[in-house]
Assembly symmetry: C2
């Protein structure tokens, strides 16, 4: 009756639930894997590794920078041994808080300990979905997955979700930049595959977003990921990327990929000590280039299946490695990136459980950025469209815990308790009526129908429902205002650069 | 070569990984939903609800006990208003630590804050598996699911997984006691369906386990679950159960089932305040019967889908309700039971994500006992065999985090780091070789094969693999030593009791 009157008045639509997943702080109390003494010992051991055994750095320019800072270089082996005072000086200048500019003010991020930023799975050579199956990823996959990333506020940065294998390497950065810039206004990613590609990518970004040289240089507008070549090695494109991004004031996320028992010691503490040593070497290089250059600490340490040697994720060892890394990140005070993941070969219950388990490890480790939090399968060889959707449901539920704060649901409802008699119910109380449309999280893909209704509707599982969801999202253009003149200029730039041969990756 | 020599020596089999999941402590830092002040306000509000509005208690004997303690009884409405000093006196005598005896010493449990005990899903009228599909649960389901519960050390107590619907209610407790006692040596459950069934169940347990009256009375050997009839009502069998168990020195777990927006206020704080009030009333009754009687605090508060009114689980609101309940449990200092769960209609990705999400809520809330942590579907209407297995994988991974402690994986492997040159690997180092068979969790159902191998083997998903696992377990008799004479005596007892008409439930 009351609703009827409202409808007749026309303007009185039901209150819509609104929630902001864009600025998340991590509300989960940090958990320790080891005592603080043991963590300090790991930090000191990492410094000793750098000082005593050193790191092999393949790029001469990088070795020169270390040499100028007082490190000892063996030019016959490319080994660089780095005194701990050099590392400490770098940690003193590396910023503890990094303001990163997106393509719109509400996409800006602050990366520092305590903040929480999610990224979907990245770097996969394959894509899979229930319609087309598993296949080598294409540029269309890159574009579609970028649109899906743009759609969900709980994904805060665009990573390179897949490798578009239908685009040759010397042209691939044009395609990925064009997609990221025109289909998303979130912070984009640039691969460090040598200076020519990086500089062209900076140029495309700067021009498309209408930034002066000074405003581009003033803060990061993009980021790269630096994987050391564990153990104890930094190759030419990675070293060059650290230098190029530091020079340009753009952000490197340093992430050794140290699988316990493979590229790293088999123990959690051993693998994280090695990872920490490598990360410190890379962080140091950025500060030797430009003190204060934005650089994010990172780890990605999981174990291998010792029967097959295959990497596995979302395991107890992966969880504990995240915890230990978080303790080291807090020791040095830098924002840091951690990673979830799954080794499953399809988006099944194993995949769901591994990704959520790995994500909780990152959350309780106090990670600033959590990558591979949605969609990542086969230990990174595939990104799945349906898994992207079902994992995003989990991330949105986590985001609800972040935004609830102390106020969410805090009303005691004492009048309602007093009014509803034993045996009664609360459905119709004013306390409930005032809140029922806004109090609870609204699921993305979860189906809350009872068994009978669900069966009548065809007994559809969550993964199959997810297909319809991503299809619907892709049926609508992304909600990104694009300046046609700038889009045209970007396309002209790419056409000309392609005509003149593109830019080969450096290796 | 070395392995060859070992094999020839015959007795030198590879070290087998052994891990003890039976005595878990919760290693997760507790998380707060609300400030301590707000929690104190909720506790005081709950006391006020009891003092001002009261609880309807349908059993005259229970009302008499309250009256004798000074509570005010309205015999025309069965309402009991309980002064806070009566409640406080009960909280003073309720034990903070409860030693519970299993059927073997390694099944004994201590329930107190800080311990961690898992139970599978309970109370479902249906069972489902991939072979037989969804059906009304039978006695064979009860037996099979009890065997599966017995098989996994990470499940610490036996709950009533399903209702065996092929056994009439007046005989059902015979079947469920016979199954629990002869197929498991873990702590068994007894339904509070009136004094006759409860006393017969005590008798079967006492005789089968060869306990004297004194040793039975000296500590709990079983438990019941008391669901209040929210809002603010305790019915006859529940009140009788509280009295019977307290008199016998056996354990009640008091668990109001307060769905936000349905039987409780729509807000987290309101629903938990009501739940707390009801739990305090029930706890008080046990202490009025026998000061020091073993009683466990409990909550099960989630929300409903406000479109359909259907209960949902593993939601952000469920998670936060667990956190708030944990804060109240710590305030009163009692061991407490929390619950996970899922509303999904099959063991799909939604089900996996909801159960794991709900379980993390309980873990970060510091729950002593977590029920419905494996196998529970449809908001409790079904227990799934495959889901039981896939959820147990998650529980085992959580248990690994509990048992790792500070020592697990703590070795820094510095010699290995020094020995392995840049570009090398750690597979063959002595540090790895000494640990590779024991360092990592061995998965139950997860498949770590790469995509090609997995596809060659038939592209089987985790749920389908789980079918083979539970079938294999059920193909072997449970590892429970049973005294044939006592089994015979139990069967005789049941035959005689059945012949004389059984024991009708009280309502």
């Amino acid at each position: 009756m009351r609703q009827g009157r409202k409808s007749r008045r026309g303007g009185d639509t039901p209150p819509k639930r609104t929630v902001n997943y864009r600025d998340l702080r991590n509300p989960f109390p940090p958990m320790a894997a080891f005592s603080e003494d043991h963590i300090t010992a790991m930090h000191n051991a990492a410094l000793s590794v750098l000082e005593t055994h050193g790191v092999k750095i393949l790029l001469p320019e990088a070795r020169m920078l270390f040499k100028a800072a007082g490190a000892i270089i063996d030019e016959s082996t490319d080994m660089v041994t780095i005194g701990r005072e050099i590392v400490q000086a770098a940690l003193d200048t590396a910023p503890k808080s990094i303001p990163v500019a997106g393509g719109a003010p509400h996409r800006d991020l602050t990366l520092e300990l305590g903040m929480l930023v999610f990224q979907p799975g990245a770097g996969a050579p394959h894509a899979t979905d229930l319609i087309k199956g598993r296949r080598p990823a294409t540029n269309q996959d890159f574009r579609d997955l970028t649109c899906l990333t743009q759609h969900f506020d709980v994904l805060h940065m665009v990573p390179p979700l897949v490798e578009p294998q239908d685009i040759p390497m010397h042209l691939r950065h044009y395609a990925t930049m064009e997609a990221q810039l025109t289909l998303s206004d979130k912070v984009p990613f640039i691969f460090s595959r040598g200076t020519p590609q990086v500089e062209q990518s900076f140029e495309m970004l700067r021009d498309f977003r209408g930034l002066s040289d000074a405003s581009f240089a003033a803060q990061p507008h993009c980021y790269t990921i630096i994987n050391t070549n564990s153990p104890r090695q930094i190759d030419i494109p990675m070293a060059q990327g650290l230098i190029d991004f530091a020079k340009a004031g753009q952000m490197s996320i340093v992430t050794p990929f140290t699988l316990m028992g493979a590229m790293a010691p088999i123990t959690v503490a051993g693998a994280i000590t090695l990872s920490h040593a490598e990360a410190l070497a890379a962080i140091t290089l950025t500060q030797l280039v430009a003190p204060g250059a934005p650089v994010c600490y990172g780890t990605f340490t999981s174990n291998v299946d010792m029967k097959s040697g295959a990497p596995v994720f979302g395991t107890p060892e992966h969880f504990r490695a995240s915890l230990a890394a978080g303790q080291l990140a807090r020791l040095i005070g830098l924002p840091w990136r951690s990673a979830s993941g799954s080794a499953a070969n399809l988006g099944d219950v194993q995949a769901a459980n591994e990704t959520q388990f790995g994500t909780w490890g990152c959350l309780m480790a106090g990670a600033t950025v959590i990558i591979h939090a949605a969609g990542w399968l086969e230990g990174g060889l595939t990104v799945g469209y349906e898994k992207l959707i079902t994992d995003i449901e989990v991330l949105q539920m986590i985001a609800e815990l972040c935004v609830a704060g102390e106020e969410g649901g805090s009303d005691l409802g004492l009048d309602a308790i007093a009014d509803v008699q034993p045996g009664g119910h609360f459905f119709g109380t004013p306390h409930t009526m005032a809140r029922y449309q806004t109090e609870f999280y609204e699921p993305l893909v979860a189906d809350y129908a009872n068994f009978g209704t669900w069966a009548e509707r065809g007994s559809v599982d969550a993964t199959t429902r997810a297909t319809g969801l991503w299809q619907n999202i892709l049926a609508t253009p992304p909600d990104v205002p694009v300046n046609d003149a700038r889009r045209g200029a970007l396309q002209d730039y790419i056409a000309k650069a392609t005509a003149t041969g593109g830019a080969a990756p450096v290796s």
